[in-house]
Every structure is written in C-alpha cells, then in structure tokens.
C-alpha cells in the first residue's frame, strides 16, 4: 500500500502549545528564493510514501519511506506520525534507518563465496550458489542422519546440520525457515530469542 496524505503533517510539538503547525500558513516570504534547502521538503511531498516498521527493538515503530517516483529509490525515511505507538518519533537507531538502505556502501550486493582454505571472498552468481548449497546440505544431512536413536525409537533427526536465526526477518520468512528446517529433520534450531 502506498500512502499519499497531503503533507504528512507533524504536530508532535504543537500539541502542548495548542498551535498546530498547519496554521503556519504558507507565507513563503523572501526566503523562498533560497531553494537549496527547500528542495528536499518539496521532493518529500512529491514522493511515493511507503509505510514500514522499524527493524531494531521490538516496540514496532512505524516509519515512512519516501521513494523518488522517477528513480524508484528511497531518499528519506522518518517516523510515521499516524502510528499510534511512536506518533512519528524515533530513537537514534530509528532516525538513522535510512542508513540501512542501499545508500549504505557497506551493504552486501553480491553472492560471496569462500572456498575451503581460501584467503578471500569470491563473487558468485545465485545460479551457481544455490545448487552448490543444496548439494552440501544433502550430503551433510544424509551422512549424519539419525533415523533411530540409541533406544531404537524413530527420531528422523538431521543432527549434522543446524540453523540459527533470525529475529530480524519477517514472520513469513521465519515460518519458511522453520518449516524448511523441520522438513530437513533439524533439531539444532535456535535464534536470538535466547540471546
């Protein structure tokens, strides 16, 4: 869903004073000419606004990503003033949310592979990596598969492979991961709920 609200007005500050900022009026005055600083606010209004939820602590604050309609890129992220919990506000991490987008130069962009004994990463393609991983998973699983335990009870466990994470992916992804792990017979399954 994209939200287009006329100027997602922020009144956090004005509540106490009884003066809504919306009453500022658009008296632009002589300073209007100094466009440099104004550009971003204007771009914001022209942007596609997409709601999201913060990915740090579990308060679940709402954020709005402003997406340039031409480039399709996010150029600003700030708190969602409609959100009942954070009411537009954000802590330091949330306020820096934008730095998680592709604007961050450290983001991973390629499939990386490190061969046994290798000294560094090599770039690979998905089409190379996925079959390779599947093969390794199958070999490791089948080799150490425990169909029956010491008591002879049917346990169908893959004890040689394990899964960790994650509490910072979406619920649907969690469900897919846990379903995959259990179908493969994994029991060593855990994530950050404990740490």
């Amino acid at each position: 869903m994209e939200m287009t609200r006329r100027g997602f007005l922020i009144v956090t500050g004005a509540v106490g004073s009884g003066v809504a900022l919306s009453t500022f009026g658009l008296d632009l005055g002589p300073v209007r000419a100094y466009a440099e600083e104004l550009d971003k606010a204007k771009r914001l209004k022209a942007a596609k606004q997409v709601t999201t939820v913060c990915c740090y602590c579990s308060v679940g604050c709402g954020l709005i990503c402003s997406v340039d309609k031409v480039t399709g890129k996010i150029f600003n992220i700030e708190g969602d003033p409609e959100h009942p919990i954070n009411e537009g506000s954000l802590c330091a991490k949330g306020a820096g949310f934008f730095d998680l987008t592709e604007a961050n130069k450290y983001r991973l962009r390629k499939v990386l592979y490190r061969a046994p004994g290798g000294m560094d990463w090599e770039e690979k393609s998905w089409d190379w990596a996925i079959p390779r991983i599947a093969r390794l998973v199958k070999d490791a699983r089948d080799k150490g598969f425990v169909a029956r335990n010491a008591k002879g009870e049917l346990v169908n466990r893959a004890e040689t492979i394990a899964h960790l994470g994650s509490s910072n992916v979406d619920s649907e992804e969690c469900w897919l991961m846990v379903t995959k792990a259990r179908a493969l017979g994994m029991v060593y399954i855990d994530h950050q709920a404990r740490v």
Partner: protein, 266 residues
Amino acid sequence: MKGIELVKLIDTSLCTACRGCQVACKQWNEVPAFRTKNNGSYQNPPDLQWNTWTLIRFQEYEDAGGKFTWLFRKDGCMHCTDAACVRVCPSGALYHTPFGTVGLRKEKCIGCKECVSACPFNIPRYDKATDKIYKCDLCQGRLQDNLSPACVKSCPTGALTIGAREAMIKKAHARAKALGGDANVYGDKFVDGTHVIYVLKEKPEVYDALPVNPHVPLSVMAWKDLLKPLSLVAAGGVLAASFLHYIIHGPKTPDDADNQTKEGGA
C-alpha cells in the same frame, strides 16, 4: 515580520538522551559522520562540529548535598532575536527568517568565520573543505513546507516541542513551576529572547558549556553599532570637509615662480 514566530522548547526534564534528534538532524540534512574515539564519555562527537549541528551533552553532576544526576542537554543554535551572528555576517548568509529563527543560506556563506567568534553560545562551526560555516537552521526548508524540524519530529518523549512563541514561553514557565526546585526557563530573557528555549532542571551555571548570561559581545556592538556607522561618518566627513576646504579656503597652490624666486632668494 511575516509568518508566525516560533519557539522550540527543550525540556531537559523529559530528555532521555536517546539522541534520536542528533541522528535525525544528520539524516535530514545529509551530513556525514566522523570516525570518533571514545574519550570516556557517551558524549560523541565531543563537541558541535560542522557536521554536527545538534549534540546531546552528557554531564555527571553531584549537587552540594551529594545527590547525583546525569544531566542531558541538547546543544545547538539558540536562534537569537538579537543574533550576533546575523549582525556580523558580511554576506547575509545568516539571516532572520519569518519564523524568527536564524537561517543560513549556505551558498552565500563566504567562510569569513566572523559568526564563529561573535556567537555568545559558541554554535557556528567552520568546515575547511567547503570553506563555509554550518549550524542548525531549525530545518527552514521543513518549516516552510509545514513540517516540524527533524529533531522535534524524532523526539520520543516530548522533550522537544515547537510552537508559537508566546504559547511556548508560557508552557515553559508552567513546566518549570511544576517541576519546582531549581527548575528554570532559559532563553526568554536575553538577546531579546531566543527561539530555542530550555526548561532546565538545574541552575544554568551547573551545565557545561552553557553561558549564564549570554549577550551579544561588546566587541560586536562596538564594531557594528559604533564603528560601522562611524566609518561612514568619518569617510563622509572627510569628503565633506575636503569639499568645504576647497570651496572656502581653496587649494594650497604654490606661489608663482617670480614670487618664489624672490622669496627663495631672500
């Protein structure tokens, strides 16, 4: 002045030093970070810098009675009504906006650094690479588009609020009264009132880097109020005097050659 005069109120009794404002400011204004060191304090960067327009100051304070508190103060431009920086700015880069705040037209700044020394709150910071000064402009661009400043927008606890000046000053005093003790309002009484005011929990002198009695420096007054007009008066006066001299007294022409010879030979 057109528009509504605004005041940003910083209620230190509500600040949790989460530093959302510090990052929101950088995010909106797209200023980079520096690689810092830990110097034994949470306060980082250690001071305002050209790329840090607002900074939470952390201060461990024990009063005379031994009661400990951790003080947090958001530092940044106070947006004075009688702003020394605007007075001294040669290029008009620093200016009073219709909101009563002190705006900064970066493209006009010539990097003369006059404001740096003039500011009674030690706010503007100079960047060598761009040869310009930087400071908070209270998100002028946002204000004009009916958005609250990035710091105010981000503040979780309501420690930062913005609104019409009179109402905010009233609110500040009511808050200080409600808090009791040493709580006080800082900012409404000097430099003709600032457009950022504090509700301080402790007396102003307790806080690091906060002037107790800030004022436009005497040097700025001497320079802008006295010498600036004086220079015109003096130059004009001299020109006028020269003109009068010429028409009244006439130029001091040499005597003609005969005279001179005569006199010289005398």
